[in-house]
C-alpha cells in the first residue's frame, strides 16, 4: 500500500544490485537509523537502554553470527555460547595486557581469537554433516566451558573465578566499567553492530555469501561448480565465531560488567539458536527480529501480570517464559519455518501488491 514502485527503474547494476532497491525501503532504513542513533539516546531511559536496547543489539549480533553459519551455510551449531565466551575472555586478557589501548579496538580484536577457535572446531564439518555436527559443536561448548573454569590464567587467577571489567576511557569518555554511562555504551554497541551488520550483508551479497549458500543448498553441486568446501565452511565458521566473539566481549564489557562461566553455557547457545529460528534462518533482518522477540518476551511477560495487578512469583514467570518459547519454536516451525523474517517479507509483499491478494 505504501509502496509506489512505478517509475523506479534501474539503469545500472549498482542500483539493481543494491541491498534496498526500493525507494521506500531506503527511507525506512534511514528512519530506523535515525531513531536508533538520535531518538533513543535523547529520550530513552537508562533502564530502557541498559536492559532492553543494549542486550537486544548484542544478541542480534550473535544471532547474525550464528545465522551466517546455520542459516546461510547450513551448519548447525550449539556452541555459540562458548564462542561468545572466547571473545569475552580474550578481551579480558587483552585489556589486562594492553591497559592503554583503546578498549573498543580490543573488543573487535578479540573476535579474531574466537574466529580462530571456531575454525578449529569447524574442521570436522568437512567430513560430517547435520546432527553429527551438532555433537562436535557441543564438544566445543563443553570443552571451552571447562577451559573457562580450569585455566585460571584466563580470569587472572581471581578467587571468584569471574572476570570483572575495569574502567577504561576512550578520548576521555568512560566507556567501560561501572561508571560508564548507559548512553555511551549504547552508542558504542550500536555503532559496532551497525558496522558489522553492514559487513555481514556485504559478504552475503557477494561471492563468499553465494558460496556459503551453495554449500547450504546443495553441497555436491557447489563443489562441482568450483566451491572449495574447506574454504567455504571454514570461512563461515570463522566469520560466525568472530561475530559471536565480538558479541561476547561486548556482552561482558558493555552490558554485564562482570561474568563467569555460566554466562556462556549451553543455554546461551540455545537462546541464540532460538533467536535465529524464530527470527528466520538465512535472514539478517530475521536475526534482529528474533533477538528482539526472544529478549523482549520475558520483559513483556514480567510486566503483564503487574499490569493486571497480579502478584506472580518471578520463578513462575520464568517457567512460563520457557514454555512459551518452546511452544513458539514448535509453532513457528510448523506454521512458518522461515520465521519472523518471512512473515515480515510476506507483509511487505502484501503491501507491495495491495490491493491485490497476490
Amino acid at each position: 500500500m505504501i509502496y509506489r514502485e512505478t517509475g523506479q527503474f534501474k539503469t545500472n547494476y549498482k542500483a539493481d544490485n543494491s541491498i534496498f532497491p526500493i525507494l521506500q525501503d531506503r527511507i525506512a532504513i534511514i528512519f530506523y537509523l535515525f531513531v536508533a542513533f538520535i531518538v533513543i539516546p535523547a529520550f530513552g531511559s537508562d533502564f530502557f537502554i541498559n536492559s532492553m536496547m543494549i542486550p537486544f543489539l548484542i544478541f542480534a549480533l550473535a544471532a547474525i553470527g550464528l545465522n551466517i553459519l546455520t542459516g546461510f551455510t547450513g551448519q548447525i551449531s550449539l556452541g555459540t555460547g562458548a564462542f561468545m565466551g572466547v571473545g569475552a575472555y580474550s578481551c579480558y586478557k587483552l585489556v589486562t595486557i594492553f591497559p592503554d589501548t583503546n578498549v573498543i579496538f580490543l573488543i573487535v580484536i578479540s573476535g579474531f581469537f574466537s574466529a580462530a577457535i571456531g575454525m578449529v572446531f569447524g574442521l570436522p564439518s568437512l567430513r560430517i554433516k547435520g546432527f553429527y555436527l551438532v555433537v562436535t559443536t557441543l564438544a566445543a561448548q563443553f570443552f571451552l566451558e571447562w577451559c573457562f573454569i580450569r585455566i585460571e590464567w584466563l580470569y587472572n587467577y581471581n578467587t571468584s573465578g569471574a572476570i570483572e571489567v575495569p574502567r577504561r576511557e576512550v578520548f576521555n569518555v568512560i566507556v567501560t566499567g561501572p561508571e560508564a554511562a548507559a548512553v555511551t555504551q549504547y552508542l558504542v554497541v550500536l555503532s559496532i553492530v551497525v558496522a558489522m551488520t553492514w559487513i555481514a550483508s556485504n559478504l552475503i551479497h557477494g561471492r563468499i555469501g553465494r558460496s556459503w549458500m551453495m554449500i547450504r543448498d546443495m553441497d555436491i553441486a557447489a563443489e562441482l561448480m568450483g566451491v572449495r568446501p574447506l574454504y567455504a565452511k571454514l570461512s563461515a565458521f570463522a566469520v560466525s565465531s568472530f561475530y559471536a566473539g565480538v558479541a561476547g566481549a561486548m556482552m561482558v564489557f558493555m552490558w554485564l560488567g562482570a561474568a563467569e562461566v555460566e554466562s556462556f553455557d549451553v543455554n546461551h547457545s540455545f537462546l541464540i539458536l532460538f533467536m535465529v529460528i524464530i527470527g528466520g534462518l538465512g535472514s539478517i533482518k530475521g536475526s534482529f527480529l528474533g533477538a528482539a522477540f526472544i529478549w523482549m518476551l520475558p520483559v513483556v511477560l514480567r510486566a503483564f501480570p503487574k499490569a493486571l495487578g497480579l502478584d506472580v512469583p518471578v520463578a513462575t514467570v520464568e517457567h512460563v517464559n520457557f514454555m512459551i518459547i518452546g511452544g513458539l519454536i514448535i509453532f513457528f516451525l510448523i506454521i512458518e519455518p522461515n520465521g519472523l523474517a518471512r512473515i515480515w517479507a510476506l507483509l511487505k509483499q502484501k503491501l507491495r501488491v495491495w490491493p491485490f491478494p497476490y
Binding site: N17, R207, M213, V227
Partner: protein, 270 residues
C-alpha cells in the same frame, strides 16, 4: 588437439582431436561393478552422446569424468593431462562443467544468483574487498553479472531473472541449470539427461539451446539422453553402454543399426 586432426562438419562446425580420452575405466562400489573397462574419447567441439538402458552406468561415467567418483582402474586424459582421479573442484577449475539428472539447483537462490554461482571460479576478489563490497569487489561482481545476463538472454529466461528457482516449473529449472553450467565457460560440458521429464515443445527448445551452445561457443558437449530421437538429431557420435560395459561406439546411424544395441534396448537376456 592438433589442427591436422580437425574436420569440418556438414553444417560448418570445426571438430578437433580428442579433448578427453577415457581409458580402461573400471568402477566398483563394494562388490558391485558399476563400470567395467570402458574406453572412449570425446573430440573437441563435438556433441557426444552416451546412451544405454537404465542402470547401464551412464551417470556413474559422468561422475567419474568430473571427479565425483574415483575409479579403481584406468585413467582419464583431459587436455593432454592424464590422471586416475581428481577432486570435483579440480575438474571444475580445469573447465569441466555439468548438469544433473535430477535438477540440482540451489533452491534458496534466484535464477540470477544460481547462474552467478556458476561464475564462482572466475571471481577472484578476496575477503577484504568482499567485506567492503564497493570498489573492486563490486566492479568484479558487475563484470560477471554482465556475462550472466548474456546467458539469461541466450536462454530466454529474462522473465524469471529474480524468481527463486524453487518456484519454477521443471522445464525452466533445467534451463536455469544449463545456464549455471554455461556460466563457468566450460571447455567440456556434461549434460545428464537434459531432456528428462520434458514435453515435446520443451525438448525442442532444449535441443535448440544445446545445438546453439555448441555452435555459438564451440563448447564440447557430452550428454546422456534417453530419447533416441533427440540423440540421433543432435549428437555427432554416440557411445552405448549396457551393464557397465561399452557395446557400441560410432556415428548415430551406425549405432542405431548395431545389433548389440538393438538387443540391449529390447532387453535380450545376456
Amino acid at each position: 588437439m592438433s589442427s591436422d586432426q580437425s574436420t569440418q562438419t556438414a553444417d560448418g562446425r570445426t571438430i578437433g582431436g580428442p579433448i578427453m580420452e577415457v581409458k580402461d575405466i573400471s568402477l566398483k562400489f563394494g562388490g558391485v561393478t558399476a563400470i567395467k573397462n570402458i574406453s572412449f574419447d570425446i573430440n573437441e567441439g563435438e556433441i557426444r552422446a552416451i546412451i544405454g538402458p537404465n542402470g547401464a552406468g551412464k551417470t556413474s561415467m559422468l561422475n567419474v569424468i568430473n571427479g565425483f567418483y574415483h575409479p579403481q582402474e584406468g585413467q582419464i586424459v583431459f587436455r593432454g593431462e592424464a590422471r586416475t582421479a581428481m577432486r570435483p573442484y579440480v575438474a571444475a577449475s580445469q573447465g569441466i562443467s555439468r548438469t544433473f539428472q535430477n535438477v540440482a539447483l540451489f533452491e534458496g537462490m534466484s535464477t540470477l544468483d544460481n547462474i552467478m554461482a556458476g561464475r564462482t571460479l572466475k571471481m577472484k576478489k578476496n575477503f577484504f574487498w568482499q567485506m567492503l563490497r564497493f570498489g573492486p569487489a563490486e566492479v568484479e561482481e558487475f563484470e560477471h553479472r554482465k556475462v550472466v545476463e548474456e546467458i539469461i538472454d541466450f536462454l530466454e529466461i529474462q522473465a524469471i531473472r529474480k524468481t527463486p528457482v524453487g518456484r519454477l516449473p521443471y522445464g525452466l529449472q533445467k534451463r536455469v541449470e544449463l545456464g549455471r553450467a554455461l556460466a563457468a565457460e566450460p571447455s567440456l560440458l556434461l549434460l545428464d539427461e537434459p531432456m528428462a521429464g520434458m514435453n515435446v515443445e520443451e525438448k525442442e527448445d532444449m535441443s535448440r539451446f544445446i545445438l546453439d551452445v555448441n555452435d555459438q561457443f564451440g563448447t564440447t558437449i557430452a550428454l546422456i539422453e534417453h530419447d533416441m530421437g533427440v540423440v540421433m538429431d543432435i549428437a555427432d557420435r554416440v557411445v552405448v553402454l549396457d551393464y557397465g560395459q561399452k557395446i557400441a561406439d560410432g556415428l548415430p546411424a551406425e549405432v542405431q543399426a548395431n545389433q548389440d544395441v538393438i538387443d540391449a534396448y529390447l532387453g535380450v537376456a545376456h
